[in-house]
Structure formats: structure tokens, C-alpha cells
Symmetry: C2
Subunit: 331 residues, 2 copies
């Protein structure tokens, strides 16, 4: 049992976003009624990039609003989808007449509400969508069902689409680039301790000492299997190996590796995970051309991490390297 | 009980630093035997700024190596001081002939080993020191004893001294500026859950539901008092009020506010804390001219946060705003 630091549950997300603006006042603005976040200095004459989803994953998505990445982000309540009216308002604020690409993590509520927003705007706005479904743990052989969940590959999609939009790519090109990143990406996560529900102060599941949860997502749910804990080298290998197979990587390929902390994982731990990720890939003749190591797509205070691999092309590297200036990513 | 993700305890720090380099390969290099971190592209013709201390506080200090901040950082083992020989090697690597300023958090081992390093180099190097002792919780009325601990104000010292050094300030001026920042700063921290010892997997202390530990430092030790938990507004007021008094802030003053996560505190929680910090200071007529919100000086996976206030001058604002390019701070 652990306490979530806040005032009231009802005001948590809005007050936290106010704090975000204080911390990064020059970069973003928070709009209330309905709630969404935009760049303080709006872009002009480019495709708008809009994302969003439940809160509790910060810095995702609000921390990625700014030059070279998102134009607007739409936060729902903790682990709950934003409403279609929030999404509509964000698109209306962000669209400069060149059309909008929505980046949606694959969850039923998000898909529904973003789609309704696009439908509501269909007579006045050109709205395209990229569905991010990178989580290998939720891959099913049979057809039907909601499909794979969207997790940390969304950061690569937002960065790369954001750079393309900033460079003047038209709306269909930005959409296709986003879909290419999704097709080239896969993610697997593991948890050593569940996250705390801000409402109850209780953890979402319990693990015995010596157990870890393999194949977790980002909403505190159990993974696909409870396994005995292992050292970092062995665990990273068990995450990376299926990713390499899923993405279809071969000797000589190069990847972007996102080593993502799920909330309460320490920098020392992520450092070790990054080292092991490179070691495993080196052994397969696959080069880590770019990497991102840190807590970028969190699941409240979950202890754990995910690894995302994205097969790179020269074009993707160019857009990944392009300048970005957001609260959570700057280069 | 929770597991720390690593291979062996003995290789933790070195392997984590290898990962840091992978994540920020363009910015820093790790040297082993002895262990220290430098900028990949060394500065020339400026005062060198060197800091360090026990590991477990990442991104401090290794994440602050780079243009506009540190020239080298010297990591000890988890919560243990680096050796004098490590510090000496780092100074030898960083000093360009213009002298070195060491930024030392006030802990007996750090003070001793940095001082020995300076002494070992006394015939060949000009080495000055800034002692950071901002933690109000360890203030004692009586003389003697080790004095106040060094905590998150060290980030302000490193940023501001780093900018001054980059701007060509001589060694005595950089030292005096650092001492001025220390004199103008105070910090208080609170914990909702202790950190986990990587060696044993055990928490460093236990709290009952509804309890928090007021006045904690950054090494997992208990604070000055176990108190009942409160909402964010009341708790932030209880942290900020003594800081305002200690720094001697008055209506019309402006401050840098560092709202620092101690490890496992979520971005939503830090956002709320940042909002409340501004609210309390607004009520006192004190302006938050600059702020930094995030996990910058951690205590492994401690749940909790600290607030640091630094009374600003025009000069300090200028150095705070100067460009910086390190793994953990970029603007």
C-alpha cells in the first residue's frame, strides 16, 4: 500500500497539467473545458499532429507537445480515454488547414472516441489516423478481437511523424510514415511490482518475492505469464529475442531501441537494461543506431520496463534526428 | 520487498554507466580504472567543473556532464563516496590549465575524498571547492557536527557555475558564484515510502498506511519526524514555509523552484507539487521566475519529493538560462 501524492482524485489530472505548464511555461498551454494541451506558439501551414489517451503514462502524451512533435495532446482521466469532444476541440485548435493526423494507441475507448471526433469534423477537416499496436504480448493467432495494444512505439511514431509534418510533408505522407513506423516496431514489457491505483492506494496485482510479470502493458494489468526473476542479461535477452523475430530483423539491420521505464524504475536499472539490449543485438549482428533510455511511457509507479525495437531506414533516421523541443524530448 | 533490476551488485554502477553512454553516446564518455565520466568533446581554455558522489541519485551527477554544466563526474558505489584517486583522475582529465572548481555535497566521505584529491594535486593544479549544504532538515542550532546535508540545490549550483565557467569566468569567480547559490538555497524533502536497497531488496524503513516521513535526505535514512499524510496543498505549504524563512525571502522576491522527484514519484504527482509550490509562493508575493520539475536528484526508488528554493538575482537568472546540453538537462 502506498500513497499517491495529490489533492483530490477528481482534480488530479487538471492540477498536474497546470504544474506541467509551470515547469515548461514557454512551450505548452493547457486548455480547460474541454481539457487539452497545445503548443504555446502554434505552428502554421503544416499538417497537425494530435495524440492523447488516458493519463498516468506521463510524460506521454502531454510531454511531447512542441516543435518537431505533437501540436496537441488530449489527456483522459487516469487510465481512461479522453472524450470525443476533447479530441474534437484539440483538432480544431491544431488544424491549420493542411489536415490532421491522429496518433492513437490501440485501445477500444481511444479508437472509438478519436474516430467519433474525426467523424464530427468530417465536413470541415481532413483527419487521418495512425493506429499504434506494437505490444507483442497481446498478439493473438486468431482473427478478431481488439488486436495488439499500443505502448512505447508511440514515441517513435510521434517523433518521426512530427518531424515529417514540420518538414512540410502532406497529410497522407505523414500518415503513411506513421504506419510504416508501426509496422517496423514491436514492444515487450516486464514488471517487478504492480502500480498503485491513485483512488485506493492499492497495487493492481501482487507478486511473491522472486516473481516477475512478463508481457505487461501500461495499465497495471497482469502480463501473459508470471515467471521467476532472472539477472538483467537473461531477462533482456528474453525480451529482445521475440522482438527481433517479430520485426523480422536480420544481421546487418539497424534499429532504434527504446528502453522505457514504466514509472518507478531507477536510472541505474535502465542503464543496465540499455547496456544489455545493445549486447544482445550486437550478438545478432544488429546495430543499435539510435536509442532512447528513460521513463517515457509510464504506468503510474509500476516497477518494470519495456523494450521497443524499430527497424530503421535512412528516412526514419533523418526524421528521428530532426530537432525537437518539447517538455520531455529536446535535441 | 522489491527487486532491483541488474546483473551483479558489484558491476551495477559500471554497467549502468555503459548504458548511459549508449543512450547519450554523443555527449559523454565513461572512463574505467578508475571510474569517471567526461564530456566526449572536452572543453578548452575554461575553468573545469567537477562533481560526484555516491551513485543511486541518477541522473545526478553523470547526467549533468556536458556543455554548459559539468566537465567531469565521479560516481562512487551506491550511496558510497568515490575514492580520492577517482576524483584526482577526473580533475586531471578535465583541467585545461584554468583551474578546477569541485562541487561537493556535504557528506563526510565526499568532503574527505575530494579534499584529498585536491591535496594530491596541489603542486600542479589550482583546485577550488564549493560545498553544497542546502538540506534544512539537518540544520542544528549547536555548532560542530557535519552540518547540513547536500541535496537538490546541487543542480542549481552545477547549472549556474557551469554557465559561468563556459562564459569564461575565472576560477575564483566560479567558486564564489557557487557559494552564493548555496547561501541563497534551501531544500526540504518528504517520503511516502522508503527506497529499496539493491543488495537486499529490502526497504530502508517502514511506514504505516497514513504515515509519511518528513525531512528525509537522499540516502534512504529516516527524516526528522513521522507525520500523518495530508493532501498536496497542505504538505507543500509545510515544506515551502520553512524554506521561505530560511532563505529570508520577502514579498517581491523571485525564486528558482526545484520540485524534485526522489525516484518513484510519478509525473502527475510532481505536476501537482509544482502547482502547489507556485500557489503557496504566490500567496506570499514571491514569484517563481524559473522552475525545474522532475526526478533530478533521486534516492533510488524512494517515493517522495523535495522542494528547493533559490533566491534569484539577475546574474543567477542569466546563468540559469544559458544554453546547456547534457544527458539530463538540455535547453
Amino acid at each position: 500500500m502506498s500513497r499517491f501524492f495529490m489533492n483530490e482524485r477528481e482534480t488530479l489530472v487538471e492540477q498536474a497539467l497546470e504544474g506541467l505548464v509551470e515547469a515548461h511555461g514557454g512551450l505548452v498551454d493547457v486548455h480547460t473545458d474541454p481539457l487539452f494541451v497545445t503548443r504555446r506558439v502554434p505552428a502554421t501551414g503544416k499538417v497537425a499532429l494530435v495524440s492523447g489517451g488516458g493519463s498516468g503514462h506521463e510524460p506521454l502524451h502531454t510531454g511531447f507537445v512542441g516543435q518537431g512533435m505533437l501540436d496537441a495532446a488530449v489527456p483522459g482521466d487516469v487510465f481512461a480515454s479522453p472524450t470525443a469532444l476533447q479530441v474534437r476541440a484539440a483538432i480544431q485548435a491544431a488544424d491549420t488547414g493542411e489536415g490532421t493526423v491522429m496518433v492513437i494507441k490501440n485501445y477500444t475507448g481511444d479508437v472509438l472516441n478519436f474516430s467519433i471526433a474525426a467523424e464530427l469534423l468530417s465536413e470541415t477537416h481532413r483527419v487521418e489516423q495512425v493506429l499504434v499496436d506494437d505490444d507483442l504480448a497481446t498478439q493473438k493467432e486468431d482473427e478478431g478481437g481488439p488486436g495488439r495494444r499500443g505502448t512505447a512505439a508511440v514515441v517513435a511514431v510521434e517523433k518521426i511523424c512530427g518531424a515529417a509534418a514540420e518538414a512540410g510533408a502532406p497529410v497522407v505522407e505523414v500518415r503513411e510514415l506513421g504506419r510504416e513506423v508501426v509496422a517496423r516496431s514491436a514492444t515487450l514489457g516486464v514488471s517487478f511490482e504492480a502500480c498503485t491505483n491513485p483512488m485506493t492506494g492499492r497495487r493492481s496485482f501482487d507478486l511473491e518475492p522472486g516473481e516477475m510479470e512478463f508481457g505487461v502493458g501500461i495499465h497495471g494489468e497482469r502480463g501473459i505469464e508470471t515467471r521467476p526473476t532472472t539477472g538483467a542479461a537473461e531477462l533482456v535477452e528474453s525480451l529482445v529475442t521475440p522482438l527481433v523475430e517479430s520485426v523480422g530483423l536480420r544481421r546487418g539491420d539497424s534499429v532504434l531501441a527504446i528502453v522505457n521505464g514504466l514509472g518507478a524504475t531507477h536510472g541505474l536499472e535502465l542503464g543496465v537494461a540499455a547496456r544489455e539490449t545493445r549486447r544482445v543485438l550486437d550478438g545478432l549482428g544488429i546495430g543499435v543506431a539510435r536509442s532512447l533510455v528513460g521513463p517515457y511511457v509510464t504506468s503510474l509507479d509500476m516497477k518494470g520496463l519495456s523494450i521497443t525495437l524499430t527497424a530503421l531506414t535512412d528516412d526514419l533516421v533523418k526524421f528521428w534526428d530532426a530537432p525537437v523541443r518539447t517538455p520531455a524530448l529536446v535535441w
